[in-house]
């Protein structure tokens, strides 16, 4: 890192339709700026809703044309009438332009070592040739998916070679004792040596809630959250059925945080069904952290950010993992539920009755999570510190 010039960090955040990766990258970016106050961060994102979140000062973003994941390894242009090669060439070109124009000291690439269909290969090569001192770091969430799927995809994409050729460091936003990502996905000795586990990343800049100050006469507050919301209506719907089932001894009020991407028609159906119940709908979704902090019980899917925050804020939770197409969420819930960190309902067993029973149980449960069972939850600040150590090395 050069003497007095501000530290420049470029982040590649591939989201397709959602916002989860962007949220996680932003959590890390904020910690980088806490540790190096004058650092400048440029995020390259492809979510159509980018930036969506309020960006901190000295953090700006570039949005590239959106590609949506249709299936494992299959991508398609979201909007433009272009064939994939054309769209990938545009994305690749922009990333190379940003890399050469911004001249980052460090590049953080989220979860795809050479981007979608190798779109990052050329920008990374250019960086390696023209900015030899720039450090390149790969960030991977705790669990990527089923071993067979991920290994096959990484082989087909040339992701292993890219990770070996271009990256100085691999940061895993998880915990090796819970899930040994490097072993699971058959990393070579070279990749294993580069890998560091940082713990779970969440919004560390938001202080955890203090002891609940809810007056005893106020009914407990249940937050039902579906992340981005594109596919969460099924369990929101079940929740409304469950709420009609729970007896009068289980008083509660609920907010359905349906997320910005829930289809308008589904929203209307849910709103109609919620009439007469102590339930309010909110479009905030994943960004509604104030809701999460206040909640007495959280019902959610098992997306990375939601689970990290449920753990960080020590919430009593009922988790319904997304059944597919990727096994990621079912794997995450089984690893964490084994430690008793939350209650799990498998989607196949999700009925109004099972949910109502779990809800009644969680509301009345007094036991807090045992701190010793929690994985490290300071992943954002540790990832930031690791990145800064790379730059200083």
């Amino acid at each position: 890192m050069k003497g007095r010039s501000a530290l420049r960090i470029m982040v590649y955040s591939q989201d397709g339709f959602g916002l989860g990766h962007l949220r996680r990258n932003l959590n890390i970016a904020i910690q980088v700026q806490r540790q190096v106050p004058h650092s400048v961060i440029l995020i390259v994102a492809d979510s159509p809703a980018a930036p969506f979140f309020r960006l901190p000062p000295r953090c700006d973003f570039v949005k590239i044309p959106t590609l949506v994941k249709v299936n494992t390894g299959v991508w398609s242009s979201d909007r433009l009438r272009l064939v994939n090669e054309e769209l990938l060439a545009i994305r690749s070109e922009i990333m190379e332009d940003v890399a050469t124009g911004f001249r980052p000291h460090l590049v953080l690439v989220d979860h795809m070592p050479n981007g979608v269909a190798g779109e990052l290969t050329k920008p990374l090569q250019t960086l390696r040739e023209h900015a030899r001192r720039a450090k390149i770091v790969l960030g991977l969430r705790d669990i990527l998916g089923a071993r067979a799927d991920i290994c096959k995809q990484w082989l087909a994409d040339g992701a292993y070679e890219a990770a070996e050729a271009y990256y100085d460091r691999i940061l895993v936003y998880g915990c090796a004792e819970l899930f040994d990502l490097a072993a699971e996905y058959q990393f070579s000795a070279d990749l294993v040596a580069k890998t560091i586990y940082c713990g779970y990343v969440s919004r560390e800049h938001i202080p955890p809630a203090g002891p609940t100050s809810r007056p005893p006469e106020r009914p407990p507050f249940v937050l039902v959250t579906g992340g981005g919301g594109a596919d969460s209506s099924f369990f929101m719907d079940r929740f409304l059925d469950a709420l009609r089932l729970v007896g009068s001894e289980t008083r509660c009020r609920a907010i359905l945080a349906v997320g910005p991407f829930l289809h308008r028609e589904q929203y209307r159906l849910l709103a109609r069904k919620a009439r007469g119940l102590p339930v309010r709908l909110s479009r905030l979704g994943q960004d509604g952290i104030r809701l999460l902090r206040r909640a007495d019980v959280v019902i959610s899917m098992a997306g990375y950010n939601t689970i990290s925050e449920v753990m960080r804020f020590r919430k009593k939770a009922i988790v319904i993992p997304r059944p597919g197409p990727s096994a990621e969420q079912t794997m995450r819930t089984s690893v964490l539920a084994a430690r008793g960190l939350f209650e799990v309902i498998h989607p196949h067993h999700l009925t109004p009755e099972t949910l109502a029973a779990a809800l009644a149980e969680r509301i009345s449960a007094t036991s807090m999570v045992d701190e010793r069972d929690l994985p490290p939850l300071n992943g954002a600040s540790r990832a930031a510190a690791q990145m800064l150590a790379e730059v200083r090395a």
Binding site: K63, I94, D97
Partner: protein, 392 residues
Amino acid sequence: MGLGHTTRALAIASHLTQGNADCSVLLVTDLPIIGRFHFPPNVDYVRLPGIAQRGDSGRAATSLDVGSALKIRRKIMQGLIKTFRPQLLVLERDPSSLAVEVQRVLAFLREEIPEAKAVWALPDVVGEPDGVIESWTRASVYSALDELCDEVWVHGDQELFDQARHYRLPGPVAAKVVYTGYLRSPRVRTERVRRKVPKQPHCPVVLVTGGGGAAGYPLVDSFLDFLEARRGRVPFHSVIVTGPMMQSEEKGRLKARAERLPALTFHRFSRHLLEYLSCADLVVSTGGYNTHCAALSYGKRALVAPGMRPPNERLLRGRVFERLGLTRLLDPDELTSARLGDLVTASVLNGHGPAGNGGARVIPMDGLERMGARIEALVGAPQGWAKAAPHR
């Protein structure tokens, strides 16, 4: 690009792609809140790093130093020309702001894709002639329009404001000017916003909009002063949309006051602004181009209070429309809460003041259709819109 430019660019993109499933439009913008917009099919966007401009406090503070932001922007725009290979480039931005940047991009387009067409699109009125001539001369806008553009579109009407004459366009540039007419706002369904405002006609609705929001504070401030002086007892329901680019602190102050008043709906940004416009009885605005178009399209009585001292494009536009009896202009010096309140009340109670209805017939509102026809003339009929041959 400001909010108004982006809104116009999206309207054009939407019109183009509606008529032709093979047409792809890539919008390039630096608007921070671009992700909040609804994009029509076949339209995607690329967002460039922002450049904070003086007096443009509403923009997100930019992270990068201006030098590297400009460099990245230029590289991205040139990269897009090389890879997206547009057949048509429409510039929907102020020609004298960051003039060098745009001119370099245009020159690059000429060199890289000689057959591609470039069009500069301007609103009906750019500003007071003296100021415009001076800044266009300083920023070499005249030579850019002459050498680098195939056409200049003015989203207005020559009879109302003759840009070629007022801005002293040289002959060859004047010959490229196409007056497209104003852009008609789309028909909108109003059920959603009607739920938030009382049913007409028993209670009229007054919409107060600060446009993008950067310059909307004085107007909303005066309007709230008036409501407060009446303790909210007025014979209408108010809807205030400050505009998303208003500084958070200013918005916070206004919102706190608004919350203490009855019969008032307050937004910083609303995706449903057009819906509100179309069910308002009176539109009170700072006089931006898009608000004018909506008031004309929906036949609304309009009161314009630019709230800035001249030279000012909104004041000039307001005067043009006031002469036609289409709008009532409140000069910045006149903008007091009492005066504003009198005009609003008179308009609401007695139907005083001009109504856009009558005038909409004499103002050409088919700008989108005429642009569609111009594009066809420039790059051929839609069926022939094959992509430009790949480079190399």
